[in-house]
């Protein structure tokens, strides 16, 4: 009997627990053949430095990759869409490789040329988890490169999305603009210094004149290039018949610029070039902070990111890899084990065991026999099947969700309160300007021009915009520190205002990976339990795995005569008992009323003793979270599963909550629309594609990711699963956002009023403006930073 030593054996490749010590190479132990294979390849090529850079850096290779999986990469048409560049000599292509996670990965990938001499160069972008590969097509091929990458455990993720659109490149435009603005602003400040002290004897009037013209020159790129962002935004808002905050700001920038030009040309003064360039610089900084993007994340995924790029079509007995958009009705598709069904079709060959959790949220696999319809989005779990398509990919049941009007043209979400506030502000400023003008018209008409322009300059709502963009930026950063990644600043405000929270069950409230197996039936002795667990450990079926996991990973007994019948069950001898586990039919058990795919019957020596009921486990902290949320928000639960857990969920979510079961993706979407029509502001929390419609329709849709490698559907935010219990805190931070903006705005108003005091009298000197402007900007930056940190702690 081969019991393991007490010390847990960890795989030398990936660091996961080894179930036994049978897989070895030299003094290394591995958890699976896949890990061993990778080690051997690296060892043969003297690439073992991979293991010395980091401890056990690999990724588990338990699920082998099918041999011809990448045959479609030989197809010229598909290649063309994937490649970035190709000439007679070489080809450039960029792969998204989700497994990139440490410096070992970096090292190994950039040494790929040692495994495949045709590869010339690999450059890894770690943040984006991308590898750019340059290779000579005369020596290797796209398929070979991908297969080499896969053989060492770095399988590129190639999806239908890659075929349809080019990924948007990083936006560098704002960075250039702020660079120019910063350079000009700094130099103008320097050149303005003599002017500030021009009242004193130690400045030379001739030099001052030179400095003024230089300032004018330096302000041109700021006005015509850097500030263009604001001009464009103001213009588009005017065209749409809506006054956003950029309109008064643009007005102020133009007035400042014109006033300064007239000052310099007429020789009256130096103008306010320093203030103007400074404000543009600070506002650009705020905008960049607020529009920070998370490079590793995507908020716009639809089904194409989940679907494979190609599938095998059987034509005249041959498998031909075909790109998904080229699949026609009545094609017969060969779906391999663990592949996604790309289009609705009729099963014509094989036993289908389809996992529809993607589409419906129902966690248990569904069995289908020949002649039945299988829907796109399901994943075939056991063996290969053939289906005949009855609909094209884009017209299938799941994908047609994206053809709906609500999804294609979402209703414009509410405008931020900043714009409303800026409108009042603008009116007040205009009134002050009019009153000032009337006053000076009566007493000293010569002063109208300087006084009115000064009022417009000083009272630009830049402070409000700065307060808003810096606060939003800080809040986004704080939330991302807690692993809630919001798509943009507008989502903060909407999250603060929600009053109804809708949860998905499977994968959101429950964990996707951890499941529990409850045994119901005649009591088992510890020996019997160990025997059952040992048998279950032999099978890779998810249900057997969760039964085995229930008893820990130690002390496995040897199993003789192990037999596995696909989609039926497993059997084998453990010590002197013959154990069978599987469906009711497999062990000859009486059918139960509640029989579904999650029940595994156990028979010992031909005697049925009972069954395991396997369910998903609720995430840690869910009862506390739901109890907390009940007090403030209306709660709903939409589940694709059946209602067998209804009583428990009712106690979790409280008596006033709405629980809906067997919800299809369309039903979920409709429910959200219905809530919104009743005037609710809805936060939807879900995962998977089955929630995609609801996530998009809701006021704020947050998708849950188990880890950052997970794919999440289009949403306003991505939240790491472990952080879900902190949700009330996140909403609180978002609520603080508005308060912080208003507080810092009021503080900046004090600066504005001080400035106005000088402005209405027509004696606003460039020095006063030059002190007030950066002082108010910097204090806003500091105040927003301090207050948002404080909001996070309390």
């Amino acid at each position: 009997m081969a019991t393991l030593s007490d010390v847990q054996l960890l795989c030398d490749h990936c660091g996961e627990t080894c179930t036994d010590n049978s897989i070895t190479n030299g003094d290394k132990y591995f958890c699976c053949q896949g890990c061993k294979l990778v080690y051997e390849i690296l060892n043969e090529n003297d690439l073992c430095e991979y293991y010395s850079l980091n401890n056990k850096p690999g990724v588990a290779q338990r699920i082998p990759v099918r041999k011809d999986k990448f045959a479609f990469l030989d197809d010229e048409k598909i290649q063309q869409q994937l490649l970035q560049f190709r000439d007679d000599q070489q080809t450039h292509v960029t792969f998204y490789i989700p497994y990139i996670h440490c410096s070992s990965c970096l090292w190994l990938l950039e040494n790929l040329h040692r495994l495949d001499p045709g590869v010339q160069k690999v450059t890894v972008n770690f943040t984006r988890k991308e590898a750019q590969v340059v290779f000579r097509q005369s020596q290797t091929s796209l398929r070979k490169v991908v297969e080499t990458l896969t053989s060492i455990g770095y399988e590129p993720y190639i999806s239908l999305e890659d075929l349809q659109q080019k990924k948007p490149r990083v936006q560098r435009d704002l960075i250039y603009r702020i660079g120019v603005a910063g350079c000009c602003f700094g130099n103008i400040m320097l050149l303005s210094f003599p002017e500030y002290f021009s009242g004193h004897s130690y400045s030379d009037p001739k030099l001052n004149l030179l400095f003024r013209y230089l300032n004018l020159l330096l302000s041109l790129p700021v006005f015509f290039y850097s500030a263009q962002v604001f001009f464009r935004s103001a213009w588009s808002s005017l065209k749409a018949g809506f006054l956003n905050i950029d309109v008064p700001i643009v007005l102020a920038i133009i007035v400042t610029f014109v006033r300064s030009l007239s000052d310099v040309f007429s020789g009256h003064g130096a103008g306010y070039f320093d203030s103007m360039t400074g404000i543009v610089f600070f506002m650009l900084a705020g905008r960049i902070l607020q529009e920070k993007t998370y490079q590793g994340l995507s908020f716009d995924r639809d089904y194409t990111a989940y679907f494979p790029i190609a599938v095998s079509v059987i034509k005249a007995g041959k498998e031909i890899p075909t790109a998904l958009p080229d699949i026609k009705i009545n094609d017969s598709l060969l779906i391999h084990n663990d592949e996604l069904i790309p289009a609705d079709g009729i099963l014509i060959k094989g036993h289908a065991v389809v996992d529809y959790s993607f589409v419906t949220g129902e966690s248990l696999p569904v069995r289908k026999s020949v002649g039945e319809i299988v829907y796109a989005g399901g994943k075939q779990l056991e063996g290969n099947i053939e289906i005949m398509t009855i609909k094209e990919v884009a017209q299938s049941y799941l994908t047609s969700l994206w053809n709906r009007e609500e999804i294609k043209n979402p209703v414009a979400k509410e405008a931020s309160f900043i714009h409303l506030l800026s409108r009042y502000f603008t009116w007040v400023v205009l009134w002050i300007a009019v009153i000032t003008a009337t006053y000076w018209w009566v007493y000293e008409p010569a002063r109208i021009w300087p006084a009115v322009t000064a009022v417009l300059i000083i009272a630009c709502p830049c402070a409000l915009l700065l307060a808003a963009s810096f606060t939003n930026g800080h809040i986004l950063r704080i939330l991302s520190r807690h692993r809630l990644y919001l798509r943009n600043a507008a989502a903060i405000e909407r999250l603060a205002r929600i009053n109804h929270i809708v949860f998905d069950k499977t994968g959101t409230l429950t964990s996707k990976t951890i499941s529990t197996a409850n045994y119901i039936g005649l009591p088992l002795t510890p020996d019997q339990t160990a025997a059952v667990a040992s048998l279950a450990a032999q099978s890779s079926h998810p249900l057997s795995q969760s039964i085995a996991a229930n008893y820990g990973n130690n002390d496995r007994l040897p199993v003789r005569g192990f037999k596995s019948v696909t989609s039926q069950g497993i059997s084998g001898w453990v010590q002197e008992h013959f154990i069978e586990m599987g469906s009711a039919a497999f062990v000859d058990a009486p059918k139960l009323v509640t029989t579904d795919g999650s029940t595994v019957f156990v028979a010992i020596d031909g005697q049925v003793t009972g069954y395991y009921s396997i369910g998903n486990q609720f995430r840690e902290g869910m009862p506390v979270l739901l109890k907390q949320l009940q007090k403030k928000y209306a709660l709903s639960l939409l589940s694709g599963d059946n209602n067998r857990e209804m009583p428990y969920l009712r106690t979790l979510l409280g008596p006033s909550s709405t629980l809906l079961f067997t919800q299809q993706p369309q039903d979920k979407l409709n429910y959200i629309i219905q809530l919104q029509q009743q005037g609710n502001r809805v936060l939807m929390i879900g995962d998977g594609l089955n929630d995609a419609g609801a996530l998009k329709q809701s006021d704020v849709g947050i998708s849950i990711a188990e880890n950052s490698n997970n794919f999440t559907p289009a949403s306003d935010g991505i939240l790491e699963a472990a952080q879900l219990p902190q949700l009330p805190h996140f909403i609180k931070i978002c609520k603080a956002n508005k308060r912080i903006i208003i507080i810092s705005f009021i503080i900046s108003l004090i600066y504005n009023i001080t400035g106005l005091f000088f402005a209405v009298q027509g004696i606003l000197s460039p020095l006063t403006a030059a002190i007030l402007m950066p002082a108010s900007s910097i204090s806003i930056v500091l105040i927003t930073y301090g207050l948002s940190e404080w909001a996070d702690r309390h």
């Binding site: 410096s103 350079c183 030099l207």
Partner: protein
Amino acid sequence: MTWPSFVINYYTMSVIIILLGASLLVALFFLAAFIWSVKNGQFEDSFSPAHRVLFEDKPAVHICKKSCDNKNCKSAICKN
């Protein structure tokens, strides 16, 4: 508009003007350097370059030694 008088007697300020030109040139140089570095993608990935520099680049000849007796050696420069 009157023609600035400094044009006439700028010799008195020539030092300042030279310095001014120099300082603006330096500023422009740094602006150009900044734009170049952004265009070059130097701010996009802060992880890879920092770690890449620590890798020991083994010269290709050492990859497979003469004494390599591995029959399955697939290394591109294996002598055997």
